[in-house]
């Protein structure tokens, strides 16, 4: 299991985070994204490259252009770790809280 340190760095930039969140809503093309943010299409492309290098998004060819999707291997790794951490914590909590009920009866 590896964690890509670049992932959260990539999300540290506000414009990149906005782009990432737009793609998280639904897959979008560069042109669609450019209409939603106050930067040029070439700047959007640069941001998409950073997000892609960090495995946060991935491009899928569609006709003459690319459509960008979330990359399930990207930020998902950190989220997967926290998911397991909290799942384990809550499961252990359930045992403790229900044990205390038996003891108090």
């Amino acid at each position: 299991m590896t964690v890509d340190n670049a992932q959260l760095t990539a999300l540290g930039d506000p414009t990149r985070r906005t782009i990432f969140e737009l793609i998280a809503e639904r897959p979008r093309s560069v042109a669609e994204i450019t209409r939603q943010v106050p930067v040029s299409q070439s700047a959007v492309s640069q941001h998409l490259k950073v997000l892609g290098d960090s495995r946060l998004v991935r491009a899928e060819p569609k006709g003459a252009s690319n459509v960008y999707h979330l990359d399930p291997h990207g930020l998902g790794q950190m989220r997967a770790w926290l998911d397991r951490f909290w799942s384990k914590t809550l499961a252990a909590y359930k045992v403790v809280v229900e044990q205390s009920r038996k003891e108090s009866q």
Binding site: N5, T9, L11, L75, A92, V95, R101
Partner: protein, 161 residues
């Protein structure tokens, strides 16, 4: 807009057979008894974990040698409904001292019946650790930090499975 939030957050929920007041009490007073043992940034075994029951308090681990690690700040404390805490752990698996670079986790308690409580946890604003990750990349010994911890955690899980 749930989708936007979910990408940089983690959500979990569980239903416990206990009244809401006790569910809240056990979660806060006995947090150390169910927190995974490997959640430890001290160099020694944890003697106790203390959850200070007030806004401005902390969750801290106290080691067997008396050392302490304050890894969460209590941002909201509303028994028996809700607690909100920070997650002051950097990607180097060290204490993050800049609050702007910490994520937060909220636990909400909802009574389903007088003796049954739903507990919902959301760990969010994960992107705020962003600058911390840049610091790791700048050359701190990354293999001694979070990635090593993750590997150890993954190993534990696979052994337990």
């Amino acid at each position: 807009m749930n989708t936007r939030v979910a990408v940089t957050s983690v959500r979990q929920s569980i239903v416990v057979e206990a009244p809401i007041a006790r569910a809240f009490q056990i979660f806060t007073e006995q947090f150390g008894s169910f927190k995974p043992r490997e959640h430890n940034m001290l160099g020694v075994e944890i003697a106790e974990t203390v959850f200070e029951p007030r806004v401005g308090g902390h969750i801290y681990d106290r080691g067997t040698d008396g050392s302490e690690c304050r890894w969460a700040r209590v941002l909201a404390y509303e028994p028996p409904d809700r607690v909100l805490l920070s997650w002051d752990i950097s990607p180097q698996w060290q204490i993050e001292t800049d609050p702007e670079k910490t994520s937060e986790w909220e636990v909400r308690f909802t009574a389903e019946t007088p003796n049954r409580t739903r507990v919902e946890l959301e760990h969010r604003k994960l992107e705020r650790h962003g600058d911390g990750w840049a610091g790791v990349r700048d050359g701190v010994a990354g293999d001694q930090g979070w990635p090593l911890y993750l590997q150890r955690y993954a190993d534990l899980l696979s052994h337990a499975a």
